[in-house]
Subunit: 367 residues, 2 copies
């Protein structure tokens, strides 16, 4: 079986794989929090809604140290399934890929070096004022512009950019932004839970759009306004960095259906998605409860690559990793993209080598 699956635009995807082989990327991880994650039933990125503030900083601490500092243990779902940052850590460590964390808006800061672009944590989208209130309309623009600048600087030193994220509640804000931009997205965004709570998400988004006094497609020409009303802080920064970098180097949006929202935001901002592609996991492209490809192709026929990780054969002293095969977690912290980048960078890294390292790192954590 191949290491990297192609899930869209076979020709461009195959060419891209050959183009990127052996190159040295930078892994960038945009982290933020939104009060949206604290709505009961929305997010599994944290055992309890209240602790989702700690998930993004803990995730990036895991990337740097192989363990977390701001919490004991690691972020887990309510069932105890470990964060996908474990996969990302293993991939970046094996391939020695440079990692930059960007704070898009956090309440709790991580104990790692991180980049500031002026962002603040997000409100619940049901307020209709999700990222900076009307009073601060210039603030979101300032954060966006600083992110564009950062993207330009990263593009001067990296062969290509791999852009992951950690923001609990991010698929719900993705749904809201996709709808505000006029993309048919209902029932199509993914979830970190096996039973995708589409009803709760749609209900939340309907409340958000009502509060913001907008209808579907109403903000298709106002992407920053869509984020400001019903999005999240990660989206501002991720969109900005991608736009800043893409004129010079290929940019991989590393994630699941949240990255369809970023793609839509890029398209709405600069009417051009050249050099943009998506890197994700097998679990996302095989997910029956969501439709990444269906979302992406409403925007642009770009390459979608997927790391062909299979955790069913992993034997560890507990079952945390095997649960990924049942549809828990699926993606996050750029796990799929980092895995793809690691396998492309060094010939000796294939999915078996990566799996072995993931297992080792997991056992270090639980023992």
């Amino acid at each position: 079986m191949e290491d990297i699956l192609i899930a869209n635009n076979k020709k461009k995807s195959s060419e891209l794989i050959e183009e990127l082989r052996g190159l040295t990327p930078i892994f960038e991880c945009t982290i933020a929090t939104t009060q949206t994650a604290k709505i009961q039933g929305i997010s599994a990125a944290g055992a309890y809604p209240e602790i989702t503030d700690y998930t993004p900083p803990a995730d990036v601490e895991l990337l740097f140290y192989g363990k977390c500092k701001c919490i004991s243990g690691v972020p887990v779902t309510p069932d105890g399934i470990p964060t996908p940052a474990l996969i990302t850590r293993s991939a970046l460590e094996l391939a020695e890929i440079s990692t930059f964390v960007v704070n898009a808006g956090l309440n709790i800061k991580p104990y790692v070096p991180f980049m500031e672009v002026g962002g603040k944590s997000g409100e619940s989208i049901v307020t209709g004022k999700a990222v900076s209130s009307d009073r601060e309309a210039s603030e979101i623009k300032e954060v966006f512009e600083r992110s564009v600048l950062l993207g330009k600087e990263l593009a001067k030193t990296a062969d290509y950019l791999v852009m992951g994220e950690s923001i609990p509640g991010g698929t719900t804000t993705a749904l809201a932004v996709l709808l505000a931009l006029g993309i048919d997205a209902e029932g199509k965004v993914s979830s970190s839970m096996p039973n995708n709570p589409h009803d709760i998400k749609i209900d939340t988004v309907n409340k958000a759009m009502k509060s913001a006094q907008i209808t579907k497609g109403a903000l298709k020409d106002s992407p920053l306004s869509a984020i400001s009303k019903v999005g999240d802080p990660m989206q501002v920064v991720h969109t900005g960095i991608a736009i800043g970098a893409k004129d010079k180097i290929p940019v991989m949006l590393a994630g699941g259906t949240q990255m369809a929202a970023i793609l839509a935001l890029i398209d709405a901002t600069v009417s051009n998605t050249d050099n943009i592609f998506i890197g994700t996991t097998k679990w996302i492209i095989e997910d029956k409860t969501s439709d990444l490809k269906g979302l992406v192709n409403q925007i642009a026929d770009i390459p979608i690559l997927a790391a062909n990780l299979d955790f069913s054969a992993i034997s560890t002293s507990n079952q945390g990793l095997q649960k990924y095969e049942e549809g828990t977690v699926k993606e996050g912290v750029g796990a799929g993209g980092a895995s793809i980048a690691a396998m492309l960078r060094k010939g000796e890294i294939n999915k078996e080598v990566l799996l072995k390292r993931i297992k080792q790192n997991y056992e270090k954590l639980i023992n």
Copy 2:
């Protein structure tokens, strides 16, 4: 006349120049403030002592935008001579060198993307508790360790690192740290003023050492303690980043005699200065009021390169730049190192091309 002068260890310096030619560095700029700068007569990096808080953020804004955002105009000396960030900006712009700003401790944050490592602005060294009080001894260690991590990440993506700084008052804190580490430094540190105020500096440092209850050389085995008592926040971060990067790539300490203090701190921390060299300006190596080479050779016989910039022939509508030839400013914001890196990166950039761009950028600012 050559573009790059060799000021120490001719053999290693010549080899280094050939080794670095055509390579792609990252320019890193560590910025911080210390209350030490507000002692009357210490610093010319700001027209008035009170506004030295704005100099570092304004300097890095100039690097990104070609103009400042947090102040009107640009940082100038009391005589109106413009900041060396103007030189750095011109060099980085011409050679398209990736720029990362690191906040080591500021009261005023810049409107650019910048890296956080947990640092806080410094107290006056005359307190003997210059960087984090005794109560927070673990804090300086934490900032140092995060800086080491950052250095490791930068080293994975850059061919070599050019490390500049902006911290008003930095030569006085350099003097104090050099003495605490046992280096014969009195009368040897440089100044941004033509008449180097050695008496004020020595008087300040004597007060600092008295408050800290230390004698010369007392902290030669405790570099972080030396910074904590009589140093500045830039030194913690700069030393950490250099140590993190130097095992993998060459590291240019870009500056004047402040970089001798960083060299001494590196040596005291890891007993090894391999891969470290200094990049500065002609104005520093020709300065009769200071002795960079004399400081460096007490620590290690490393290469010292100097950008051979000559501003005497520049004709502009005002005399700001020509004053550099009279010994004002001399260096700062990695001006010399950035110039060297730009000339090494692209064959078509020589000192004449660089001078022309500096003149253009200066005229844009004053007209």
